[in-house]
């Protein structure tokens, strides 16, 4: 991120700096997730990463998506993760043998994935700048917009998705119940 780009017209400097700080924190936490020697610590670092995603959404004035992120990932998925880990193996202190034998293969996969995503984003948006975020409160109708779209043009996919989730829930019960 160079100074010329920051000072260009229509670029919100404060927002970019905030993005950089949060992104750096997320990368650090993500590295900790894969390098820590304790399963519970890894899960807690993952909470930091997911919280960072929510913070990025807030920075982009996507408040509804940010709240959904907290609700689904931090409030439900991570609690379930921790619950599962603590019910099964939850030693305090360092553990050995957490690494898979083929862990090194993950590095080229990650690099290729990063390159692909970076290329896709840069190719699509190039030098575009994000529109100024709207104020919160009465001027911000983003939640209402989402509701309007989900319940009129996208009603059929929305219903389809609910049935997929319902099928998954029923499937989980069938698999888990032996009697």
């Amino acid at each position: 991120m160079n100074a010329v780009l920051l000072a260009a017209d229509g670029v919100n400097v404060a927002q970019n700096i905030g993005f950089g700080i949060i992104a750096a924190g997320m990368i650090f936490a993500a590295l900790c997730v894969v390098s820590t020697k304790n399963v519970v610590h890894a899960a807690l670092w993952l909470v930091v990463v997911l919280g960072g995603v929510a913070a990025q959404y807030v920075l982009a004035a996507a408040e509804f998506v940010a709240v959904s992120q907290v609700m689904v990932y931090i409030g439900a998925v991570m609690v379930l993760f921790l619950f599962g880990i603590m019910l099964t193996r939850a030693k305090i202190g360092e553990e050995s043998g957490l690494n898979n034998k083929g862990w090194a293969i993950g590095i080229p996969v990650a690099v290729v994935l990063f390159g692909l995503l970076a290329w896709a984003v840069l190719d699509t948006y190039g030098d575009d700048t994000i529109a100024e975020p709207q104020l919160t409160g009465a001027n911000n109708e983003s939640t209402v917009d989402i509701a309007d779209r989900v319940l009129s043009p996208y009603l059929a996919p929305f219903f389809g998705m609910t049935f997929v989730l319902l099928a998954a829930a029923i499937g989980a019960i069938v698999l888990a119940r032996k009697d």
Binding site: N38, V40, H41, L44, V47, E63, F64, V67, S68, V70, M71, I74, G75, A76, M78, V79, L80, L82, F83, M86, L87, A90, I92, G93, T136, G137, A138, N140, E141, S142, T143, V144
Partner: protein, 351 residues
């Protein structure tokens, strides 16, 4: 906030005021609840006087208690996971402070006027589970771990009826903005009485009951205190905590009671407002500026009334067994709240 004082406050000043306001809005109710209900009401219900020595009627007892906790040695057992052990009470207390952000105290006295306010408090309210799980695991104690797991299971189970009970209000108010919900309750009429407004506790009475039961369980107050059941688990996930770390859990418990009561008052009892008909206001923009000062007092009174009910139940009923507690949530409250949503939605369209 700016227009009340009629002076321009710079952004850092506003932020500072918000932080100070948040501290007051969390700690003042917590103190009031502990003194009025935990010390005095509990004592009177048990035919004793409660604290009487510190100050008139023991009113300075809180200061003495806080002083006592702060003086204690900061003990953490040898085998605990130090970082997580110390972080856990902070996470629990932090989620309480994050909750107060959306509570509207007046037409303009709001920390953040979020469009998705209802959704926000439901999401942030579930963060405290993380802190409880962290405390339970990091304590390196089987009682603590069991307490933490019980707490997580209970909070997950009772979050659903809470979300579903709130949906009834959202459907009726047609908004997730808490200030808009207050406005709707105070401008509409019920049975043609405009002077009463339309507090949702009347039309959503079932939702109100489910919400208050879920709040009781989310706060792990008796009769839902399986996670800290002292006859089985010493005191659950808090067993290894002492001194000011225990104090943080303690403050968080009662501050969260206050914040949830604020939110329940906003959703069901008309929040900070009085029926706008009384003063001839038409909508939120019409409301006089002095409601920013009177509003918090009205909300505070309603909060105390609701916490009184929470505490009344707490001191009255014996503890649920773990399986009864789960059955009650999954097999009774959730179907009931789904039925409530269906009926509310049908009436909303039909009437």
């Amino acid at each position: 906030m700016i227009s009340v004082l009629a002076v321009e406050i710079p952004y850092w000043g506003q932020s500072l005021l918000r932080v100070l306001g948040g501290l007051v809005a969390v700690l003042l109710p917590a103190g009031a609840i502990v003194y009025l209900f935990l010390f005095k009401m509990m004592s009177f219900m048990q035919s004793r006087l409660g604290p009487m020595e510190a100050g008139p009627y023991g009113s300075m007892q809180l200061l003495a208690e806080v002083g006592k906790w702060l003086q204690k040695e900061d003990i953490s057992p040898d085998n605990v996971d130090k970082t997580v052990f110390k972080l856990a009470p902070v996470v629990v207390l932090l989620s309480t402070f994050l909750l107060i952000v959306v509570v509207p105290f007046g037409p303009e006295a709001v920390f953040a006027d979020l469009d998705a306010g209802v959704f926000y408090f439901l999401a942030v309210g579930s963060v405290s589970v993380l802190g409880i799980l962290m405390a339970g695991w990091a304590s390196a104690n089987k009682y603590s771990l069991l307490g933490g797991l019980r707490a997580a299971g209970q909070l997950i189970a009772y979050e659903l009826p809470m979300v579903l009970a709130t949906l009834g209000v959202v459907i009726q108010a047609e908004s997730m903005n808490l200030n808009r919900i207050v406005e709707v309750q105070n401008t509409e009429a019920i049975f043609g009485f405009e002077w009463l407004g339309n507090p949702f506790v009347i039309t959503q009475f079932l939702g109100f009951l489910i919400f208050m039961i879920a709040v009781q369980a989310e706060l792990t107050q008796p009769p839902f205190d399986m996670p800290i059941a002292e006859s089985e688990l010493v005191s659950g996930y808090m067993t290894e905590y002492s001194g000011f770390r225990f104090l943080m859990f303690f403050i968080a418990e009662f501050a969260t009671a206050g914040v949830f009561a604020f939110i329940a008052a906003t959703l069901f009892l008309g929040g900070w407002g009085v029926p706008f008909e009384w003063f001839g206001w038409d909508n939120l923009d019409d409301v006089s500026w002095w409601m920013n000062i009177v509003g918090p007092l009205i909300l505070f009174t309603k909060m105390l009334a609701l916490v009184f009910v929470i505490m009344w139940v707490r001191f009255t009923y014996p503890r649920f067994r773990e399986d009864q507690l789960q059955t009650f949530a999954w097999k009774f409250l959730i179907p009931l709240s789904l039925a409530n949503i269906a009926v509310t939605a049908i009436l909303k369209v039909a009437v």
